[in-house]
Amino acid sequence: DAMVIQNPRYQVTQFGKPVTLSCSQTLNHNVMYWYQQKSSQAPKLLFHYYDKDFNNEADTPDNFQSRRPNTSFCFLDIRSPGLGDAAMYLCATSRGTGESPLHFGNGTRLTVT
């Protein structure tokens, strides 16, 4: 009954080789978020979509892009992964109001070799 599904659970890519992480939801939520979480650190918001409106965080590197082709799916594209991009990537959804909780996926752990 998973409602926010991230694939794959583990992803290995080579330095500089583009990689795409995917997220889908069955909650029909307006908002989808991508967070990056490095070891022993807080999850850090990269960007989010409110419906079709893309909202990038000011300090998100240009190397990170996102696509949301429809309500259910959202992708995280890393154009040229560096060793520093190795992290857990968390997708989350919400209705988008202040008090609405976020629903997280299990995350994708990215390794860059």
Binding site: V4, V31, Y33, S40, Q41, A42, P43, K44, L45, H48, Y50, N55, L90, A92, S94, R95, G96, T97, G98, E99, S100, P101, L102, H103, F104, G105, N106, G107
Partner: protein, 110 residues
């Protein structure tokens, strides 16, 4: 600047002991505060939010605007409470996006 601070990386207690996980925040405006929990090998999930004023799994948290704190408390810890706990904040017009604290790992020993 908006910030959430959890001063303890690790909190270790014995079963049955009281637990308090500290959270302080910095926010100019009226924040919405949450506690999220991540059990071993499970996804991050909502534990409770200040607006609900509820007790979940015996945990409570009170928003203290004077001290800008939202500490998480439980009178008698259980082994199954062992997990990673994150305090998080959002603003009224932030579209629900959360700012997380660094997290506190709670270890409850038998």
């Amino acid at each position: 600047a908006q910030r959430v601070t959890q001063p303890e990386k690790l909190l270790s207690v014995f079963k049955g002991a009281p637990v308090e996980l500290k959270c302080n925040y910095s926010y100019s405006g009226s924040p919405e505060l949450f506690w999220y929990v991540q059990y071993s090998r499970q996804r991050l999930q909502l534990l409770l939010r200040h607006i609900s004023r509820e007790s979940i799994k015996g945990f409570t948290a009170d928003l203290n605007k004077g001290e800008t704190s939202f500490h998480l408390k439980k009178p008698f810890a259980q082994e199954e409470d062992s997990a990673m706990y994150y305090c998080a904040l959002t603003g009224h017009n932030q579209g629900g996006k959360l700012i997380f604290g660094q997290g506190t790992e709670l270890s409850v020993k038998p």
